[in-house]
Every structure is written in C-alpha cells, then in structure tokens.
Symmetry: C2
Subunit: 245 residues, 2 copies
C-alpha cells in the first residue's frame, strides 16, 4: 500500500460541493468513482484538506488516498486526468509517508475571494466572482482587515450551525487588491471555520460601503454572535487557493 497525495483544482459550478451526498454530483464522488474503476471495483476512500460548499472553487485542494497500484508517480496525473470529468483536474501527485493526512496535517490554508464591482451584467464571470456593483472605500476595508488579523475567537464569523467547540483561529494575512473593476481578497490562516471566509467578506464589503465602521470589528468579535457580523457572501466568488503542510 502506498499513500498518494494529490493537488487538485475544480470548477465548483457543476458540483453540490466537495463532500459525497447521495444522489448529488460532488467532487469526492467523481474522484472516488474514477479510483474505483482504476482499482477494478474496489472502493477507495479519499480524504481532503477540508470540504468546500456548492459553487465554491478550488485552485489547490489537497487529497490523499491509499492504493496498492504500482503506477509511477508521474503517470498518476495523466491516468486520473483522462478519466476525470473536465471540471476536475489533478496538478500534482506524489507518494507520501503513510502517516501523512490531508486534513489533520494542514499547517495553513489560503483562500481567495473575487468581487466584481462593475455595474454591468458580466456573462463570463457569473460563476466565478461575486457581483457587487457599488463603490467601495478600500482604505476602510484595509483598516477593518487589521482588526481581523491575528488570533481571535471567530464565533461571530462562522455559521451558527458550526459544531466545532474551539472557535479560536489565527489569521496570518488578509489583503485586498484592486484590478480594474475587480477586487480580490486573500486570506491565509491556520484554519477557517464553516463559512468563515464568506462571512468575513460579507462584513468587509459592508465596511467598504460605509454600512459598518472598521472600528466596530473588535466589538463584533467580542459579541461571539453570528448575527453581529455581515451577510455570508455567495459561494461562487470563493476559491480554496492553497493548502500548506
């Protein structure tokens, strides 16, 4: 048995998220179906760094699985890509220690979030960016970002449904870059709670529009109440960009 680690990307548009759900098309189901075929009907379970929701994209999701197949490392990429659908791609495959775990060994993750500020309907980005046709005060957003960085209890910034007890996470870096009519948020942290990036984006957009003041962020964090933060920004603007081990 060899443990394989793969870096994959997917266009989230056609999936009900990463995780298997009966009767729904998911990323995990598509990959496991291909592996099952390669393993002559034997089920092969894959483990990802974490799930992604419906519509959310991945540029650098990481998975692992165990296999008895004797396939050279470089052949794995081609073997998987030819059998996987067009909206899932494998970019890297390597044999790793059997102790490696795609989820438990994560040291940090990077997410990106694309926002289109243009007023026009854009047919080419409708699945790939959140349309938010407002003028934003980027300096105010940058001021708010300073309050989110660091180690905090992010209860206010995660879905009320989150079952995990410990909601303390550390965000190493957040930045926002404007490129023409588009802004891109980048978040790097040791872990992110359910919907956390999307709620931070929703809140930062409120700040950018002047609905909320940057200096209110510390009190939102302190309230530890989901209702005190902004809306959850839609999934299709979000990209799981990179996972570090």
């Amino acid at each position: 048995m060899k443990r394989m680690k793969c870096i994959i990307s997917y266009d989230g548009t056609g999936f009900f998220g990463y995780q298997i759900q009966p009767g729904k098309r998911t990323v995990q189901q598509e990959i496991e179906a291909v592996l099952k075929r390669m393993h002559k009907g034997e089920e092969v379970r894959i483990y990802a760094s974490g799930r992604t929701d419906a519509g959310v994209h991945a540029q650098g999701q990481v998975i692992h699985f165990d296999t008895p197949l004797e396939i050279a490392q470089e052949r794995w990429i081609a073997a998987l890509n030819t059998q996987l659908p067009e909206d899932i791609a494998v970019h890297h495959a390597e044999a790793v220690s059997p102790k490696f775990h795609a989820r438990y060994d994560v040291v940090s993750k990077e997410y990106r979030y694309r926002v289109m500020l243009g007023r026009g309907k854009n047919v080419f980005l409708r699945h790939y960016a959140h349309f938010y046709p407002y003028s934003l005060n980027i300096e105010a957003i940058e001021a708010a970002i300073q309050h989110l960085k660091g180690t905090h209890d992010f209860t206010s910034f995660c879905s009320a449904k989150t079952e995990i007890e410990d909601k303390v996470r550390t965000i190493y870096e957040i930045d926002v870059q404007q490129q023409g009519e588009e802004i891109i948020f980048r978040f790097i942290g040791n872990g992110f709670l359910y919907n956390m990036v999307r709620i931070m984006v929703g809140t930062l957009l409120d700040v950018g529009q002047g609905k909320l003041h940057a200096d209110e962020i510390p009190s939102i964090l302190k309230q530890m109440d989901r209702r005190s933060a902004g809306k959850t920004a839609p999934g299709h603007g979000l990209y799981l960009w990179q996972v570090n081990y």
Copy 2:
C-alpha cells in the same frame, strides 16, 4: 415604431449557436422569447450582425429590432437584462434610424481567439480558450499573418459548405499577443466567411508548430481549396469582439 440597436454579449457555452433552431437553446430564441413577453405575445424578430456557431462567445454582438413600445433608451438595458438568462447581457441600447440594419450596415468586425499553451488541465478555461499544449514559434506566426492581411479570395479559409459566391474579403489587421501561457489572436476585417477565423487560427497554429511554413500561405490562398489550409480550431476559443458601423 422605433428601431432599437443593442450591443449584447453572451457566453456561448450553453447555446447551440446564435440562430434559432427548432428544439435547441439558441441566443436568438432566448432574446425573442423575452421580447415577445414584453410585447404581450406579439412576435418580435431580431436581426444580428451575423450568426455565431455553437460554443462561440460574443463580447460585442449587435442586434436590431422594431418596437412600438415607449420605453426610455436607458430603461431598455435594465428591462432586457432582468428578463434575459444569466448568459446573455445587454450593454447598450439606442433608438436608431429605421434604415439601420445590424447585418447589412456592418463596416468591419473584430474577432478574438484565445489559445492556452499550458500543458496542465485548466478547469476554469475549458469553455473559454482552446487548449493547445505545444511550444509555438510566435515569429513564424507573425510572418504568416503578413500573408493573410489585405484583400484576398479566402476560399481556402472557409468551410466548403459556404454558399456565398464572392469569397473576397479584406483583413485590415491581425495580431497575436502572448500573455503568460496564453496567446490571443485579434482579427479585424470587412467581413468573415463561415469558419474563416477558426480556419485561419488552425492554420496559424500549424505554422507556429512548424508543420507549415509561413511562406506557404500565399500558395494556400491561391489553391482556393479548403483542404489546403489547416484544421478548423474549436468554437469555444472564439469571441465576436466588436462590430463597427
């Protein structure tokens, strides 16, 4: 009656091309369905600068139609966009002379064609660029372009099915730009025959790969035989970019 001219864009992925075909989803059918609803069941025929094939995109297609509706110019855009599907957008609408015709009055058109040279599978561009994972000699392509520019009989560069008699067209400008792993072709001409841009791209890619020499282009033109030129590049890399009147 007022004649309206509109500039529209569409993502060609979900359409069997521009023109109405029974039982198929097309751009013309979607727009005419919305206009019929706006005109209380009355059929409104739209006329475009030209058709586009299945999978081909438009950044700046132009259409016209006649309407008795008294809607202010700037309200037309919003009225159409809210009712049209997400993959068709109206960017501009204006009342024009009843003599204006979206097809017959075209002075020139610009098409663009995106080619991805990267070797990796790219889930985000699969519908928006032609994947061509080879090293290309851009200087050779530029030399070939010089032979295509100008006024020629383009019989060799159009589908053998073309019924139009006069196959002489003038190409004012062709250029190719490299941006990282991507190259973008730009074609501006007084008119383009059926599949003409896609066959020119297929032929230029042959030149870039060294399968064909740039200096062979004049003889390909002279042969007036579709079989002498290169393959028809796929539709999903092509964009009708702008129509000039």
